[in-house]
Symmetry: C2
Subunit: 286 residues, 2 copies
């Protein structure tokens, strides 16, 4: 076991265990892991290095099956590594590092552009309701800060990452109201718009996002409140892969002992169908 | 301050503070309070006793504004006290005790009859999903125990009374699955029927029930799963009273410190509109 291998393995475990970061943050993290692998993995020759790096890309791609971005970004990086035709391991290493660096820049630019578009679509002085913690939603709300935006945030059980978002928004001085997930239908009529992020974009126009997103979209539809989704285009799940896997986590996350004889389910993600989404905003729009 | 007055005041505070019992349990509790008042309140003559008892009825009626049963049952009891035409305080006392006792029996009979009807409507071998903790739902599921019934229960934040229900059902040997409120839309397609209780029945066929009930009904509608409501007819809210009050409780119930600058809302009840309810089952049916 080389130190590089240890580092990668530990980072991969963190990637798998991270319950708070959204797909965009994890995608960026995965690219940094691949960049580090390109810089550090030891290998006797270019062929061995290539195999190791492709193996790393595969490990990242399959780490979080509900999150298309990990598969998409690592596939793009893998293609760059595969396309490199050098017998010089240091040259291959540089190609792989450059590819990761370029993808990170692309990702950052895409996120910023999508959020600017989303903020423009919402406009000033609105009450925005959201669920869970999406880095794109947080950034969009940050862009709207100072425009008179008000925010309603759900807890997002079991780990309450909505409380994290509420804390950050309040720290910025944004007026923010926190509600339990169960109060979604009570709270959404007070909002002008629902803004969701996405962990994956589906070929049919639906999205995969944190469990509870579909409930909020259903309540919004009933209340006549439009649902916007802000996400980067590289979250698209390719067609032909069938139904997305919806990851299930340990029920220890409930935070109390599950009673004897009770089976607890802790499915993290669900689909929001296209018919409940008024507009999907990516960096590619308009 | 007489001891009787102290007892009543303490019981009234418990009635107001009780966050776990449903309207049926609280209605029964209110009748017991009125029965005790009829037995114990001191008064110099029948007129003074009558005024004291009517005052007690009024205090009970307004203790929980989201719960029509308290107003309904105390009104029926008040009418019996008002109708008593005796100058003998002991005779008046007996009328009031008998009225409370009769209402308690009526209530118990009604609950049992409604639950038997609900169990028959559901039939054996079904998967039933519910939200919160309704004594009528619990009793109905108890009647179905042994018929192959399976139950899916939501936590029901903020106080997790769904966990109480799950624990009781598991103790009876009923297969039960516990999910977070956010997983309602994920879980409801596995159910054959959604069964809800009600804190009040509205004149338009809708009901008032714990926050989250409307979300579950919306998710059930989308999944094509019928929603049954089991409740006693004395939960009907009279027409002409306007919109029901939806009680809001302290956000300390969230169980963690609300972040600085964040406004937390803890509204307990919401309406489920008639269009989302396939059938309302009371003791009066069929």
């Amino acid at each position: 076991m080389t130190p590089a291998r240890d580092d990668f393995g530990a980072a991969l475990e963190r990637l798998k265990a991270d319950r708070v970061s959204g797909a965009a943050q994890l995608g960026r993290q995965a690219l940094i892991m691949l960049l580090n692998a390109a810089q550090r993995e030891e290998a006797p020759d270019a062929g061995a290095l290539r195999l190791t790096l492709l193996d790393r890309a595969q490990a990242v791609a399959s780490a979080r099956p509900s999150m298309a971005p990990l598969a998409n970004l690592s596939r793009q990086w893998r293609q760059a590594v595969e396309a490199a035709v050098s017998d010089d391991p240091e040259r291959l290493r540089q190609v792989a590092v450059d590819a990761a660096d370029r993808l990170i820049q692309t990702v950052d630019t895409a996120t910023q552009r999508a959020c600017v578009r989303a903020a423009a679509a919402i406009g000033p002085g609105r009450t925005v309701m959201t669920h869970s913690l999406s880095s794109a939603v947080e950034r969009t709300l940050g862009l709207l800060h100072g425009s008179g935006v008000r925010v309603v945030v759900t807890e997002s059980r079991p780990l309450d990452e909505g409380v994290v978002l509420a804390t950050r928004l309040a720290g910025m001085g944004v007026p923010v109201t926190l509600v339990t997930d169960a109060q979604m239908a009570l709270a959404v009529p007070d909002a002008n718009v629902v803004l969701l992020g996405a962990d994956s974009l589906l070929p049919d126009g639906g999205v995969v996002n944190k469990a509870g997103s579909r409930l909020l979209a259903l309540a919004a539809a009933e209340a006549g409140v439009p649902v916007l989704v802000v996400a980067e285009s590289w979250k698209r799940r390719p067609a032909g892969l069938g139904e997305p896997v919806l990851e299930e986590m340990d029920s220890a996350e409930f935070g109390y002992p599950i009673p004897d004889g009770v089976a607890a389910r802790n499915v993290y993600f669900e689909t929001v169908p296209a018919r409940l989404i008024a507009r999907l905003i990516t960096e590619e729009d308009g």
